[in-house]
């Protein structure tokens, strides 16, 4: 798996390559007058040398024997890159004038992010129609491997195999999209509802209400979120018992309240900036009602920064829920959930070195973990681009 030649040998090669590029580049650059070669810095040369050697190593590893995971990773990166590029090109040529313009200013990463978010949303919404089996359906063949090849321990009936008690993993992954993503989405919506209404209220009314709310939020934010969530989960289960549906409901409420503190801070700050503007002053002097002030004066002007924040908060909520479920305190079985799936299947990772079926076995826990990572990466790509656009930075 590892390149056979030693690390020192390759580092020496990198340094030698850098020196050759640096001094050779000067000679050639001086002779031919190519400024790029002549004025290359030593660190730049080192970078190019490192890049070439790493590329060579990667290609050698890819075509060498046994590097199954590396091949999968390369296929994944290249495949997603191509998908993002195609989607970007599609967006540039199909659609209304506005969407075409939007796609022209978009980097490939953001296009890929939008494509992935759309795919996740479709899978989550239509899980009942896409999934081949039910999420809690148990089959008699447990521990089938992914791949669908009977010769390799798989079965064509279960394309991604079955878990330790015989549930179809593909179906559970698809239903996991519905449960994990759906619950995270509902929680974020709730957090935004609480945070925005209190934040705008604090900004509009000000005075004692603002002080009280702000100090409460300061206090809640001074305890790390995951820790506080765990403490509150313990208390909630001690009070109301740990029936399965209840635990999930508590989790939604607790995380929504804890996360609304961040939303409160932002919406209060945004609201404060709007409250001091002339048009708001005018509306106030006209004698408009509080609800009109908040919904018709503040809300439309605060939409853009809050939308980017929604993406970021969704990522945090999603990761918190996945972590809680991974720790066994979040979404409860028999509901399929990615965090729980990772924990249940995690021991299979130790089988990776076995020939032929090893990598297939070890991929079991990584699929659910990868599904979580892929969605958060996609959202972050889009948010990164939106923030970049909003800040007006031009490269």
């Amino acid at each position: 798996m590892m390149p056979s030649l030693s690390f020192t040998y390759w580092s020496a090669l990198v340094v030698a390559g850098a020196l050759a590029l640096y001094f050779g580049g000067r000679q050639v650059g001086n002779a031919s007058g190519v400024a790029r070669l002549r004025d290359m810095s030593a660190t730049g040369a080192l970078g190019y040398s490192l890049l070439v050697v790493t590329l060579y190593q990667g290609i050698a590893l890819y075509f060498g024997p046994g590097a199954t995971f590396f091949k999968w990773a390369v296929h994944g990166v290249v495949g997603f890159g191509i998908a993002g590029y195609l989607f970007q090109q599609l967006g540039r040529h199909v659609g209304t004038r506005a969407t075409k313009k939007l796609f022209r200013s978009m980097p490939v990463t953001a296009a890929l992010g939008i494509l992935l978010i759309l795919a996740y949303a479709l899978i989550a919404i239509f899980a009942d129609f896409i999934a081949p089996y039910g999420q809690a359906e148990i089959f008699k063949d447990a521990n089938l491997l992914p791949g669908g090849d009977p010769g390799m321990g798989g079965s064509p009936d279960h394309l991604l195999g079955t878990d330790q008690i015989g549930r179809d993993i593909l179906s559970r992954l698809i239903y996991g999209a519905q449960n994990t993503v759906g619950i995270a989405f509902v929680t974020t919506l709730l957090a935004f509802f609480i945070g925005i209404s209190l934040g705008f209220l604090a900004a509009t009314i000000g005075g004692v209400l603002d002080q009280v709310l702000s100090r409460i939020v300061d206090m809640l934010m001074s305890i790390p979120q995951l820790i506080f969530a765990l403490l509150l989960m313990t208390i909630a289960t001690a009070w109301f018992g740990s029936e399965k549906g209840m635990v999930t409901l508590f989790m939604i409420l607790i995380i929504a309240v804890l996360d609304s503190t961040r939303v409160f801070r932002l919406s209060r700050a945004v609201g404060m900036n709007i409250v001091v503007m002339d048009f708001f002053e005018a509306a106030k002097l006209r004698g408009e009602k509080l609800s009109y002030l908040i919904f018709s004066e503040i809300a439309p002007n605060a939409f853009a920064p809050l939308l980017a924040e929604f993406g970021l908060r969704f990522c945090f909520v999603f990761l918190t829920i996945a972590s809680l479920s991974f720790l066994g305190i979040g979404i409860q079985p028999p509901l399929a959930d990615w965090g729980t799936m990772v924990r249940d299947l995690s021991q299979f990772i130790a089988y990776a070195p076995f020939p032929v079926v090893g990598p297939l076995t070890a991929s079991l826990p990584l699929m659910a973990a990868g599904a979580i990572a892929l969605l958060t990466v996609a959202v972050n790509f889009v948010v990164d681009w939106m923030l970049h656009r909003a800040s007006g930075l031009k490269e």
């Binding site: 798996m1 590892m2 810095s41 660190t43 730049g44 970078g47 890049l51 995971f69 990463t109 300061d218 206090m219 001074s222 305890i223 790390p224 979120q225 995951l226 820790i227 506080f228 765990l230 403490l231 509150l232 989960m233 313990t234 208390i235 289960t237 001690a238 009070w239 990522c315 990761l319 996945a322 972590s323 991974f326 720790l327 066994g328 305190i329 965090g339 990772v342 995690s346 990772i349 130790a350 990776a352 070195p353 070890a362 826990p365 990584l366 973990a369 990868g370 979580i372 990572a373 958060t376 990466v377 959202v379 972050n380 790509f381 990164d384 490269e395």
Partner: protein
């Protein structure tokens, strides 16, 4: 200097106040629970008289504010009470030889040292690494190196800790057995053994934290590069490396120190999941186990320890950024 001392003491006072309020939150949250220590001790079938007798003995019948201050004074002397899970009548009545058996402080103390060790190893790798990558990314911004660094850090920020952890286990423990995947360190080990066993959790946390620190270092330096004195240095013909290291970095130090302290505070949350994945005997794992069996005194103590560490690191970040600001340090 007077000015700075005042600002810092104000900030410290605010920190102590926050800590006080947090302790009230944690105490009252736990005291709202149904059932108390006396019931946990005697079990379901206890007679009301027996429960009342023990309550009186332990002072549980006192009003809540008296109990709070008793508890607070105990906590300041590192006495966090007795664990529910370890409590039984024998220890209460003092009939076993081991008097300290089941005290929360005894459970937390060795684990806290382990968690600190993990955090220290992580910081020792992550801080220099992220500063280096951050400076390089600022130096070669918009180059291919910067883009690769940007995409990979964005990816590692957004991945859940356990995904990074399992990928590292797969690569460095299973396929290439460099480090063990089980970090069951104990007191008998020497430093090198401990370090080797701690390496995988530390690397996982490093990957998560480095991304934040590197991006913020890069942003802080790039912000400064737009200022006129950097333009001047460039026009003087200084090398880009010299400009960044000797001109930009000293002024970017305040935000960078802030970022480092904030990310170490972030480690506190990350440590919980990572310790569970690697079965590392730290406070995080104890916390999760106690939450599962609802061992309230331990949950309460762990919460307090985490919150204290979080608040003091945030405090440290504020104080350091005040100290590293020459305009505040040297008033006119």
């Amino acid at each position: 200097m007077n000015n700075v001392a005042m600002i810092i003491s104000k900030r410290l006072g605010l920190g102590v106040l926050t800590m006080f309020m947090v302790s009230i939150i944690i105490f009252s949250a736990v005291n709202m629970l149904p059932g108390d220590f006396a019931q946990a001790l005697l079990g379901q079938s206890a007679t009301p008289e027996a429960v009342a007798a023990i309550r009186k003995d332990l002072g549980l019948d006192k009003p809540i504010h008296t109990r709070y201050f008793d508890w607070l004074i105990g906590v300041m002397q590192f006495d966090f009470g007795t664990s529910f899970a370890k409590a039984n009548f024998a220890t209460y009545a003092g009939t076993t030889a081991d008097v300290n058996f089941g005290s929360v402080a005894d459970q937390i103390a060795p684990r806290f040292a382990n968690t600190l060790f993990l955090a220290a190893v992580t910081a020792a790798i992550a801080v220099p690494l992220s500063l280096l990558i951050g400076v390089l990314a600022a130096l070669y911004r918009y180059s291919i190196f910067d883009r690769i660094a940007n995409i990979s850090t964005l990816t590692s920020i957004s991945s859940p800790e356990f995904f990074v952890a399992y990928v590292l286990i797969l690569l460095l423990a299973v396929l290439n057995p460099v480090f063990p995947s089980l970090s069951n360190i104990h007191d008998g080990m020497d430093f090198a053994q401990k370090l080797q066993k701690t390496m995988l959790p530390a690397l996982t946390l490093t990957l998560v934290v480095t991304a934040h620190m590197m991006r913020m270092t890069r942003a802080a330096i790039i912000n400064l590069l737009a200022s006129p004195y950097i333009e001047m240095a460039r026009l003087k013909g200084l090398s880009p490396f010299r400009i960044i290291v000797f001109h930009a970095l000293p002024n970017a130090l305040a935000p960078i120190i802030n970022v480092i302290a904030l990310n170490l505070a972030y480690l506190i949350t990350g440590v919980v999941v990572v310790e569970v994945v690697f079965v590392y005997p730290g406070v995080g794992q104890l916390f999760v186990d106690s939450v599962k069996i609802r061992d309230i005194p331990v949950v309460q103590a762990c919460c307090l320890v985490f919150a204290a560490a979080y608040i003091s690191l945030n405090l440290l970040a504020d104080v350091m950024s005040i100290l590293s600001n020459p305009r505040l340090r040297l008033p006119k």
